[in-house]
């Protein structure tokens, strides 16, 4: 891992540490591509259906939101945490209680609003278990970013 990725990692680790709910979910930083790849283990307390068994739909939604907000933080290191406006989750496959990966990509970041796509997968990245469209309100002063202005 290079120096830049270490800096990116530390920034996200700080955010996880100060967000107890992310620690409850067991969010880990897996790798960095254009956006961070996060993961969570399929821990027993995250299960929503013990018969299948399957992860709780709210856990999947939370991981999607986490990936989206962390991606924005990674791209806007100076900014305050953006405000989540809404999230729209499509559940595509059963979320088995195994290691689950999450990532997000920026669709458009304007002056006040960022539109983000997020996805979750387990054994294969091309077989997402859930996807989401997530909208954020950025801080009122507006936020400029050289890559995504």
């Amino acid at each position: 891992m290079n120096e830049i990725d270490n800096i990116r990692r530390q920034r996200l680790l700080d955010e996880i540490t100060k967000t107890p709910y992310f620690e409850l979910l067991g969010v880990q930083i897996e790798a960095f591509e254009d956006a961070p790849i996060l993961s969570a283990m399929g821990a027993d307390h995250l299960i929503g259906n013990i018969n299948l068994p399957a992860l709780h739909g709210g856990v999947l939604g939370s991981l999607l939101e986490c990936a989206a907000s962390m991606m924005l933080l990674d791209k806007n290191p100076q900014g305050v945490t953006p405000r989540l406006v809404n999230i729209d989750v499509d559940y595509l496959r059963t979320g088995r209680p195994v290691k689950t990966y999450a990532s997000a990509s920026l669709v458009r970041q304007g002056r006040r609003v960022a539109s983000v796509k997020a996805q979750l997968w387990q054994e294969a990245r091309d077989r997402p278990i859930a996807i989401a469209r997530v909208q954020f309100l950025l801080d009122r002063t507006g936020r400029t970013d050289a890559n995504h202005g």
């Binding site: 967000t19 107890p20 409850l24 929503g48 018969n51 709210g58 809404n86 989750v89």
Partner: protein, 151 residues
């Protein structure tokens, strides 16, 4: 309604982990899940507020429960969330308790449609609005008890 409450009260592990509880005193419409503020489900926004993710999770849970509470629900039918949208209107401090009400607005053998809201109990302030669609008659899974399998 009370005849359904026993099965409703079986919280999934994640519901236990975040402290969801069914409000058995509520008279409807739909069902109400209460969620007490706790540091474990918080974010740092405004010095400690309910994380949006746990509000989404509770809406998802309440949505599933309200379908099982609906008069047209056939006991034992398994279901799965197809989609869930949540709008976040305001933050709620962790010193508060949230009331999440979910109402099943339509149900047939294939689909169920739910509307839900989350508000602060002490003030009535609206915190989130949700809408969800569920697939009915999905596989109950290999570990389902006989009582939970479709008739």
């Amino acid at each position: 309604m009370s005849m359904f409450l026993k099965s409703l009260k079986e919280l999934p592990p994640f519901g236990v982990a975040v402290g969801m509880r069914l409000d058995e005193t509520d008279s409807g419409p739909g069902i109400v899940v209460l969620l007490d503020g706790d540091p474990n489900i918080g974010s740092q926004d405004f010095g400690g507020s309910f994380h949006n993710g746990v509000i989404l999770a509770t809406i998802d849970n309440a949505a599933g429960w309200c379908i099982r509470d609906h008069a047209d629900y056939r006991e034992g039918i398994a279901m799965a969330t197809l989609d869930l949208r949540v709008d976040f209107l305001s933050y709620a401090a962790l010193s508060e308790t949230l009331r999440i009400r979910a109402c099943c607005e339509g149900i047939d053998r294939d689909l169920a449609f739910v509307r839900a809201s989350a508000e602060i109990v002490s003030t009535g302030q609206l915190v989130a609005l949700g809408q969800a669609t569920f697939m009915m008659g999905t596989s109950p899974g290999p570990h389902a008890s006989v009582a939970q399998k479709p008739a």
